[in-house]
């Protein structure tokens, strides 16, 4: 399994054709206390860069994009009851949705952990 990052502060864990997507700790810190999350329905087809989920704090609303194309296989229902998971464990329990990837070659353009760290440091 390998983990990739995007410039939109999302992470994606890939295991064969299956992927899990969430937002990074840096993104969580920027947002502040998360109060609401909307995850995509199972079976939704997403193209790379499409709006996939919504995450809201008291004073901001952000879209979470599909980092690569695929079909949604699961949304994290636990977030509806406890959106604070995104603040407490953004890169674990606070995942957003799982995807069946349609084109793994799209992963090539993404960053690895070291590159993402550097990217954040440059902001």
């Amino acid at each position: 399994m390998s983990r990739y990052f995007t410039e939109d502060h999302e992470w994606i864990d890939v295991d064969g054709n299956n992927a899990t997507v969430g937002i990074t700790n840096y993104a969580q810190e920027q947002l502040g206390d998360v109060v609401f999350v909307e995850v995509p329905e199972n079976g939704k087809e997403l193209g790379k860069g499409d709006d996939a989920a919504v995450v809201e704090s008291v004073k901001a609303a952000s879209d979470v994009y599909a980092p690569v194309s695929g079909t949604v296989s699961e949304g994290n229902v636990a977030l509806a009851d406890d959106p604070s998971l995104i603040n407490t464990d953004p890169e674990g329990e606070g995942w957003f949705f799982k995807l069946d990837l349609s084109d793994t070659s799209q992963l090539e353009g993404l960053m690895d952990e070291a590159a993402y760290k550097e990217f954040v440091a440059s902001l």
Binding site: V35, F36, V58
Partner: protein, 519 residues
């Protein structure tokens, strides 16, 4: 030795001042806690007496209510006390300085209130026969005349209910005009600094919204705007004076370029108070502009509304203005509405609202205009701008004012949060000002300045009031710069301490639930 005749001490004794003890009731003298009516009232209590209903058969179609609604009542005495107590937990202009930028919180003259309550205005029905409401039409017509004259525009739609509704009116007129010439444009350009209602309105009217960048000086980037114009751009929405409190010097050039490219110019006139009698939007090429009567023309904000947002139009857009409107002819007035629109106003885009708009605000605004007159309104703008510049120059040594070096501001002064100690924010400044007895400035708007603080004094503040505010703000800013922990916990003296907005949004409780129904 001298004694007063009650033998009681007349000076405070030396006592420990420090933390005040908790009281039994939770009240603190004049700061009184107040229950919800659902906790204090009951469904069988009432503050109104009615005569018995006459005997008559029911014609309710078998729909008689069978379950209790759950509406608690209070006697009149309790009602007066409930709302009086609640009112005392509120800050209002009547209480003190209220420098909320972009909101023009000026004094609300009481003559306005009295005039709006004359039975001849307050107690007439919008569908009365026209011969019985000639005076009401005349109010609308006279106010329309003032607005047209002050803006230099040939037409005005009076019915929009507030600023955002006026924006919608203007944008729909633009769309109608484009459709009438078979031109289906899709995009409205809006500066990043614009008020949220601008993009929301354009989207509500079915347009795509694109940002226009700003220059370092806080104004619309003319070159970028011109580069973006083209056959898909329906128009621009520009706020002038803008939300950074600056006059858009290039307004005429912007209008000319937009017109050249076949589009229309919408001006957000929320900040008209800065320029009444000094410059007319009609001379700057504007096609439509709303005027917030609840800002510029002193009708009260009422804790969130109602407002009124008449929209002035250029010749090009006037034919598309909404129904209904009033037409005067030789001292007689008539309403142009659906019935006679065909012959008088065939291109109108239709009706935006039931009835005629905010009559109660029209009477107040007209009363205000007559009181000030043309000379007074001009003085209003000059004093509003003078007060704002005085604030700008009295604070720029302690607060970062990103646009101050480029020249004077208009009616409001904008500052950023640069230079505060780590962890201290604009929010802390606001809460510190609350403890000092002021309503805070607008915070975090416009979005183009970090931690924005937008201060609009208006013309109805005295120099003393402003000096006191400046002194207090300098004091609070010093605390934010030195990292004073007390400031982080402010307000200390308001009816409530900082409220938990995260909890409110995570598990919204929007209505009262009786404990038995709370399940």
């Amino acid at each position: 030795m001298s004694m007063n005749n009650q033998g009681r001490p007349t000076r405070s004794e030396d006592i420990e001042t420090g933390c005040a003890p908790a009281t039994f009731t939770g009240n603190r003298a004049l700061i009184l806690e107040e229950k919800l009516i659902f906790e204090s009232g009951s469904t069988d209590r009432t503050g109104i007496d009615f005569p018995a209903a006459p005997d008559a058969p029911s014609k309710l179609g078998g729909l008689e209510r069978s379950v209790e609604i759950g509406l608690p009542g209070l006697s009149e005495s309790e009602t007066v006390r409930h709302y009086t107590r609640l009112s005392r937990q509120n800050y209002g202009i009547d209480l003190g300085f209220f420098p909320l930028g972009s909101c023009t919180m000026k004094h609300n003259p009481r003559l306005n209130e009295k005039m709006a309550r004359l039975p001849g205005f307050a107690d007439i029905h919008p569908l009365q026969p026209q011969q019985t409401v000639q005076g009401a039409y005349q109010v609308i017509d006279e106010l329309a005349d003032w607005l047209k004259t002050l803006t230099g525009m040939p037409a005005v739609a009076m019915s929009p209910k507030a600023g955002a509704h006026g924006e919608l009116c203007g944008v729909l007129a633009i769309r109608s005009a484009l459709e009438a010439r078979g031109d289906a444009r899709e995009v409205i350009l809006v500066p990043e600094s614009a008020h949220g209602t601008n993009p929301a309105t354009a989207a509500f009217a079915g347009y795509k919204v694109e940002d226009i960048p700003a220059t370092k000086e806080g104004r619309v980037d003319l070159d970028a705007l011109i580069a973006r114009l083209g056959p898909d751009v329906a128009g621009v929405m520009i706020t002038n004076p803008n939300t950074c409190g600056l006059f858009e010097r290039d307004m005429k050039k912007i209008s000319d370029a937009v017109h050249e490219a076949g589009g229309f110019v919408y001006c957000d006139g929320a900040n008209f108070n800065a320029i009444v009698g000094k410059v007319r939007p009609g001379d700057l090429g504007v096609d439509a502009m709303h005027i917030n009567l609840h800002k510029t023309f002193s009708t009260p904000h009422g804790g969130g509304g109602p407002g009124s947002g008449p929209v002035v139009f250029s010749e090009a857009l006037a034919p598309f203005a909404p129904l209904p409107f009033v037409e005067g002819q030789g001292g007689e007035y008539r309403l142009v509405e659906e019935e006679n629109a065909e012959e008088h106003h065939a291109s109108s885009f239709g009706r935006m609202v039931a009835f005629h708009g905010q009559m109660g605000m029209f009477t107040r605004a007209l009363t205000y205009m007559l009181s000030h007159g043309a000379d007074g309104l001009r003085q209003v703008s000059e004093d509003a701008v003078l007060n704002a510049n005085y604030i700008l120059r009295s604070l720029e040594d302690v607060l970062d004012a990103p646009f101050a070096p480029s020249g004077p501001c208009m009616h409001e002064a904008l500052f950023s949060d640069k230079g505060f100690a780590d962890g201290f924010t604009t929010l802390d400044i606001a809460k510190g000002l609350i403890d000092e007895g002021f309503h805070p400035m607008t915070m975090y708007f416009p979005l183009v300045v970090h931690g924005a603080m937008l201060i609009e004094p208006t013309e109805t503040e005295s120099k003393d009031a402003i000096d006191e505010f400046v002194g207090a703000l300098r004091h609070v800013v010093a605390a934010a710069k030195s990292g004073d922990a007390n400031l982080k916990a402010a307000p200390h003296h308001a009816p409530r301490r900082r409220l938990d907005e995260t909890m409110a949004a995570r598990k919204p409780v929007l209505v009262y639930k009786d404990s038995e129904t709370a399940a």
